[in-house]
């Protein structure tokens, strides 16, 4: 076992993570398969399904590059999740849509044309999510789905806590309109 693996035993780090950090691509594939569903769901919810695949790949490539920085101070899943959120936020910034997504668009949910799929509430929920204005969706996912606090979101997105709260409420009210028919 690599030294990092020995460290893993002491810190609770997953052995595959330790092996991957030492350059073992097979171990990294196991890490990928363990976490890909959650990471893909995060990217899909925050960016939409059309970008989720590409950004998910970017996240795991970044993870491979950064694994050496993971010390096991927190759970690997927590570390990976934060890295993923950062990649998603960078992606959004690179598209220079930060300001646009913060604009009010009360008619946004009017574009929801797909009938609620009652047989699959999760898919229906995600379909509604994709119709949210990007800024509101981002904060809704971070707060209500992923469990981040407003102050954390404010730091990540370079906004105020007040903006985060307003966008969250806006997103919830829009989601309420869609879910109202269920």
């Amino acid at each position: 076992m690599a030294l990092s693996g020995d460290t893993a035993v002491r810190s609770g780090m997953n052995e595959d993570v330790a092996l991957a950090a030492a350059g073992d691509a097979s171990a990294f594939e196991r890490v990928y398969r363990t976490h890909v569903a959650k990471i893909h769901s995060l990217t899909r919810r925050m960016l939409g399904s059309h970008e989720a695949d590409e950004v998910t790949q970017d996240i795991f490539v970044r993870t491979w590059q950064k694994l050496g920085q993971f010390r096991g101070d927190s759970a690997f899943s927590t570390w990976l999740h934060r890295l993923a959120v950062n990649v998603v936020i960078e992606r959004r910034r690179s598209f220079a849509i930060q300001r646009e997504r913060m604009t009010d668009d009360p008619a946004a949910m009017d574009f929801v044309t797909v009938a609620p799929a009652r047989a699959d509430l999760t898919v229906d929920f995600e379909a509604a999510l994709e119709q949210l204005p990007p800024g509101a969706r981002e904060i809704f996912v971070l707060h209500d789905v992923e469990g981040y606090k407003h102050r954390e979101i404010a730091v990540m997105l370079h906004i105020t806590s007040g903006t985060s709260k307003r966008q969250l409420h806006r997103a919830r009210m829009l989601m309420r309109k869609h879910l109202d028919g269920l």
Partner: protein, 243 residues
């Protein structure tokens, strides 16, 4: 349903416990009187519950993305945290210990002694130079333990983590080069080989520490390797002083 936006705008903060006590009490009072706002509040609770349920229902991508990831990481150099395995490090530690022990045996009969001197001459061409010379322990061990041997060769107060160490090593290497004519070829070969081994251990520990500066195991390993090198040079130099 009649919307009282002045109240409904507070409902998310109300649900998230983000309101001051007085404001919360006011919302409570309004909700007791307003069925419409209570209905909105319950709807928002449902939205939050759905979001929390979604968090637990992660779906994998519809296509396998691993091939793309694998193709990209193949072309990427991964900064390694540690390039040495525990086994390798343990082997290096054992080797260093064996080197030291072997030299104790080899030099066991040495009776001469010398104080640290500033001998003249270039740094040994035959004796490998110190790869760590001129560098600092950036991010390395904080230990500054001194080496004060119990034998007759005294290098007291030499820190293992500062310039004193480099100066001491340089002086010993110069003295060793100057006195190497007093040693037989076999002894010179053993000393050279062992110095190379220790230098490799030091270099590898430094490389690993550069990636993981807070690793106390590596820090200790580096300190020990440097101490071993000082010890080896000191003993070899003492041998050149023997009559």
């Amino acid at each position: 349903m009649k919307m009282h936006t002045e109240w409904t705008d507070k409902l998310s903060d109300y649900l998230d416990d983000e309101l001051e006590a007085a404001e919360r009490a006011a919302v409570d009072a309004h909700l007791r009187e307003c069925a419409d706002c209570t209905a909105v509040l319950n709807d928002l609770r449902r939205v939050i519950a759905r979001a929390q349920a979604a968090a637990a229902a992660a779906r994998p991508p519809q296509t396998d993305l691993w091939t793309g990831v694998a193709g990209r990481i193949e072309r990427i150099h991964q900064p390694r945290r540690v390039s040495l395995t525990v086994t390798q490090l343990a082997a290096a530690a054992v080797l260093v210990a064996a080197v030291s022990g072997g030299l104790v045996w080899q030099f066991g009969s040495a009776k001469g002694s010398r104080n640290q001197t500033s001998a003249s001459g270039e740094v040994a061409q035959t004796f490998p130079g110190s790869p760590e010379r001129g560098t600092r322990d950036s991010g390395g061990p904080a230990e500054s333990g001194t080496f004060a041997g119990t034998d007759s060769v005294a290098i007291v107060g030499v820190s293992l983590a500062d310039d004193q160490y480099d100066a001491a090593v340089a002086d010993l290497e110069r003295a060793l080069k100057q006195g190497r004519g007093k040693l037989d070829k076999a002894t010179i070969a053993v000393v050279e080989q062992n110095l190379q081994t220790i230098d490799q251990a030091i270099a590898q520990a430094r490389e690993a520490l550069a990636s993981d500066p807070a690793n106390s195991y590596l820090s200790g390993h580096l300190v020990e390797a440097r101490r071993r090198k000082l010890d080896l040079l000191r003993r070899a130099t003492a041998l050149t002083d023997m009559d």
